[in-house]
Amino acid sequence: MNKVLPTLVVVEDDFVDLEIVKRGVAKRQMEVDILNAADGNAALDLLRSDRLTDQQRSQLIVLLDINMPGMNGHQFLDAIRADEAFRRTTVFILTTSDHPRDITRAYDRNVAGYFLKSNVGGLLETLSLYLRHVKSPPVVSLQPV
C-alpha cells in the first residue's frame, strides 16, 4: 500500500452497466478503486461511512446514474450538495437519459460532466485525463453524527 488509488464510486443499480465501467477501467488499465452503490441512499451511506479513508476522499469521483429504483440521481445530487462535506465532490453523470431537463438539472447541481451510457468509452477517457490533471477539492472532515 505504498500509494492510495483514486476512488470511483459508481452509483448504479444495473449490473451490466457497472460491469461495462469495470471492464472499461480494466481495459484501459486505469489505476482506480471502484466502489458500487445500488441507489442514492446506498451511495450516501457509503460516502458518510468510515469505509472511505481521508486519502480516498481526497481523490473521490462519483459516477451517478439518474434513473434508479429508490433514491434517484437527482435526489442524490440534491442531498450531497446540501451536505457541507460533499458539496464540492466531483460527480459525473452516466445515464441513458439525454433529456435536456435532466442535463440542465444535473449541471445546476455542479456536475463535472454529463455522459450517456452509450458513450462509456468517452467518459473513461475523460476520467483518465481528469485524474491525471485536475486537482480535487480539499477534504472536509465528517461531522460526528
Binding site: 444495473d14 449490473f15 451490466v16 452497466d17 460491469e19 461495462i20 471492464r23 441513458t96 451510457k117 452509450s118
Partner: protein, 624 residues
C-alpha cells in the same frame, strides 16, 4: 263567386282592371253621346235664335218701311220711295233665306204668309207712288200754270174794264178774283191738310168766282175764256184731290192693313219660335240632366265597383301574402310549421303556400339532418378523442417500450460481447454459431427499437426553427447515407432556403433517399433524383428513383408501421416510411407515392413554406 276563387290571381287582377276600364270607357261613351245630343239641341236652339233674329230684323224693316212710306206720302220725295223699295228687297231676301232654312211647316206657312203680305204691301205701295206722282204733277205743274193763266186773263180783263168805266162790272171781276183766290187757297190748304170741307169750300169759291164773272157784260169772249180756265182748274184740282184721296186711302187703309197682317204674322212667328225655344230649352235641360245623371251613375258605379274590386283583390292578395311573408320569415329562421295557411288554394298564393310547405318540410329535414350530424359530430369527436387517446397511448407505449427495452437489450449485447471476449475460445462451434445469432438478433432488435423510438418521438419533441438550405441538407444526406454501389443522387441547384425545422425535414429526405438507394437494383446505374416546385403556400418535393418499383396494391401498406414490401433480404425495420408520413403530416404536409413495377418509384411530399405557430395535430388517414 266560387268560379272567381278558382281563377288565378293574375286573371283576377286582369279581370278587375278590365271591368274598371270598361266602366271608364262606358262613362266616356256616355259623356260623348250626351254632349253630342246636347250639341244637337243647342243647334236647334241656335236655329230658333236665328229665326228670332230674322223676325226681329223683319219687324225693324217693317217699322222703317212704315216710316219711309209716311215720309214719302207727305214729302213725295223719290229718295224715300227708293229707300222703301230697298227695304222691300231686303225683306224678301231675308224671308226667302229664313224660309229655306226652316223645317217646321207651320213656320214655313207663316213665312209664306208674311211674304205674300209684303208682296201685297209692295204692290199697293207702287200704286201709292203712282197716285202720289199724279197728284204731284197736277199740284205742282198743272195747277200753277192754270192759276197763272187765270190771273193773267183776269188782269187783262180788269184793264179793259177800267177803260170802259163800268164800276159794277169791275167790282164783279174783283169779287171773282177774290173768290178764285180763296178757291186756290182752300185747295192748297187741302193738299197740306186733306180735309173734305176744304175741297167743298174751294168748289164753292170756284162756283162763286164763275157766278161773279157771269155778271160781267160785254167782253163775253174774254169772260168765257176765263170761265173755261177756271173750269179746267176745278177739274185738275178735283183730279189732284182724287189722287190724294186715293193714295191716302191706300196708305191709311190698305197698307196699314198689310202692316198689321205682317205684324200679326211676325208676332205669331215670334211666339211660335218662343214656344219652340222653350220646348227645346226644356228638352236641353232634360237631356243634360239625363246625361249628367247617367254619367254620374256610371262614375259612381265605376268608383264603387273599383273600390269593391280593389278591396276584394287586396283582401284576396295582401292578406294571404302578408301571412305567407310571415310564414316565410318564420321558415327562414329555421322554424318547422305544423300548418301553412293557403295550401288548399289553387291560385299563385296556393302555389307559394305549397312552396312554403316544402320549405317547412325541408326545414324539418334540415333540422333532423342537423341533429343527426350533431349526433354524428359528437360521436365523431368522441371517436377522434378516443383515437387520439389511443394514438397518444400508442406513442407513449412505443416510447416507453422502446426506451425501456433498450436498456436490457444493451445489457444483453454487452453480455454477449463479454462472453465472446472472455470465453470464445472455450465455446464449441455450435456455441459460437448461437453467440453470432444472438448478436445479430440483438442488432436487429436495436434497429427496431431505435426506429420505434424515432417514430414515437415525432411531435413529442419540438425541434428548433432555423433557416434551412435544402441543398445543404441533401449534401449532408449524400455524405451520411450508406451507398455501397455509389448510386448517383441528383438535385437541382436552385433548391429553396427557408425557415423551418431542420431535423424532421432531414429525417424525411434521409429515409426517402435511403430507401431509394437501399432498394435500388440497378447497381452503379441506379439514380435517385430530387426535384421541387412551389405549390402555393408550400413546397412540393419529389424523390424519384429508377429502382424496382412498388405494386400499387401496396401503396397503403408501405406507410404503415413495421410493414415491409419488396426484397425481404434488404435490411430494414419497416418503420422508415411510417416515420416519414408521420413527420410530413405532423407539419401539415401530405405525402403520396406513384410507382409501377419496373418503372421506379416517385415519392412526392409537400412541406409548408411557413410553419404554423403551433404544429397541427397529426392527421391520421389514408394516403392518396
Amino acid at each position: 263567386m266560387l268560379q272567381m276563387f278558382q281563377l288565378s290571381l293574375k286573371r283576377k287582377i286582369y279581370l278587375g282592371f278590365g271591368i274598371i276600364l270598361m266602366l271608364v270607357f262606358g262613362n266616356a261613351l256616355a259623356v260623348y253621346f250626351g254632349s253630342k245630343r246636347i250639341a244637337r239641341v243647342f243647334d236647334r236652339m241656335s236655329q230658333i235664335e236665328a229665326i228670332n233674329a230674322v223676325v226681329l230684323r223683319m219687324d225693324r224693316d217693317v217699322q222703317e218701311l212704315r216710316l219711309r212710306a209716311d215720309r214719302f206720302v207727305y214729302s213725295g220725295r223719290e229718295s224715300q220711295s227708293n229707300a222703301a223699295k230697298e227695304i222691300f228687297d231686303r225683306l224678301r231676301v231675308n224671308i226667302d233665306a229664313a224660309t229655306q232654312q226652316q223645317t217646321d211647316p207651320e213656320m214655313v206657312t207663316l213665312f209664306g204668309q208674311i211674304d205674300s203680305r209684303v208682296t201685297e204691301y209692295a204692290k199697293h205701295f207702287d200704286a201709292v207712288i203712282v197716285e202720289r206722282k199724279i197728284r204731284q204733277d197736277l199740284v205742282e205743274q198743272q195747277l200753277p200754270v192754270l192759276v197763272q193763266q187765270i190771273e193773267d186773263q183776269m188782269a187783262t180783263l180788269s184793264t179793259r174794264l177800267a177803260g170802259s168805266g163800268v164800276t159794277d162790272q169791275r167790282l164783279a171781276l174783283v169779287r171773282s178774283q177774290s173768290a178764285f183766290s180763296k178757291a186756290e187757297k182752300f185747295l192748297l190748304r187741302y193738299f197740306e191738310n186733306p180735309d173734305g170741307e176744304l175741297v167743298e169750300s174751294s168748289v164753292g169759291a170756284i162756283h162763286d168766282a164763275v157766278r161773279q164773272l157771269g155778271e160781267i157784260e160785254g167782253l163775253q169772249g174774254e169772260v168765257d175764256a176765263i170761265v173755261e180756265a177756271i173750269r179746267d182748274f176745278e177739274s185738275v184740282g178735283l183730279r189732284a184731290v182724287q189722287a190724294t184721296r186715293s193714295y191716302l186711302f191706300l196708305r191709311n187703309v190698305v197698307i196699314a192693313g198689310e202692316e198689321s197682317e205682317v205684324s200679326y204674322y211676325s208676332a205669331q212667328l215670334r211666339s211660335r219660335a218662343e214656344t219652340r225655344r222653350e220646348f227645346i230649352a226644356s228638352e236641353l235641360a232634360a237631356t243634360s240632366n239625363r246625361v249628367r245623371l247617367f254619367s254620374w251613375g256610371i262614375v259612381v258605379t265605376a268608383v264603387g265597383l273599383s273600390l269593391l274590386i280593389a278591396t276584394r283583390l287586396a283582401l284576396l292578395i295582401v292578406t294571404p301574402i302578408s301571412e305567407l311573408t310571415q310564414t316565410f320569415e318564420r321558415l327562414s329562421s329555421g322554424e318547422v310549421l305544423a300548418d301553412v295557411p293557403g295550401t288548399r288554394r289553387t291560385d299563385e298564393i296556393g302555389k307559394m303556400a305549397t312552396a312554403a310547405r316544402i320549405f317547412s318540410d325541408q326545414n324539418l329535414r334540415t333540422r333532423e339532418l342537423l341533429e343527426q350530424s350533431q349526433q354524428l359530430g359528437v360521436e365523431l369527436r368522441e371517436q377522434a378523442n378516443l383515437l387520439q387517446a389511443t394514438n397518444e397511448e400508442l406513442d407513449s407505449f412505443a416510447y416507453v417500450a422502446s426506451h425501456d427495452l433498450r436498456s436490457p437489450l444493451r445489457g444483453i449485447k454487452h453480455l454477449a460481447q463479454w462472453i465472446e471476449e472472455d470465453v470464445r475460445e472455450d465455446l464449441s462451434s455450435e456455441g459460437e454459431v448461437y453467440l453470432d445469432n444472438l448478436k445479430t438478433r440483438v442488432g436487429k432488435l436495436e434497429v427496431l427499437l431505435e426506429d420505434l423510438l424515432d417514430f414515437s418521438r415525432v411531435g413529442r419533441i419540438e425541434p428548433a426553427v432555423e433557416i434551412v438550405d435544402v441543398g445543404s441538407v441533401l449534401e449532408n444526406i449524400a455524405d451520411m447515407v450508406s451507398n455501397p454501389h455509389e448510386i448517383r443522387i441528383d438535385w437541382p441547384s436552385d433548391l429553396p432556403e427557408f425557415e423551418t425545422v431542420r431535423a424532421p425535414l432531414e429525417q424525411v429526405f434521409m429515409n426517402l433517399i435511403g430507401n431509394a438507394i437501399k432498394h435500388n437494383d440497378k447497381g452503379p446505374q441506379g439514380v435517385v433524383s430530387v426535384t421541387w416546385s412551389a405549390a402555393g403556400d408550400c413546397f412540393e418535393f419529389a424523390v424519384q428513383d429508377n429502382g424496382p418499383g412498388i405494386d400499387a396494391a401496396n401503396f397503403d401498406r408501405i406507410f404503415q408501421m413495421y410493414q415491409r414490401v419488396g426484397d425481404t433480404s434488404i435490411e430494414g425495420s419497416g418503420m422508415g416510411l411510417a416515420i416519414v408520413k408521420k413527420q410530413v403530416e405532423f407539419f401539415g404536409g401530405k405525402i403520396c407515392v406513384t410507382s409501377q413495377i419496373g418503372q421506379g418509384t416517385r415519392f412526392i411530399f409537400t412541406w409548408p413554406c411557413r410553419l404554423p405557430t403551433k404544429p397541427s395535430e397529426a392527421v391520421c388517414g389514408a394516403v392518396s
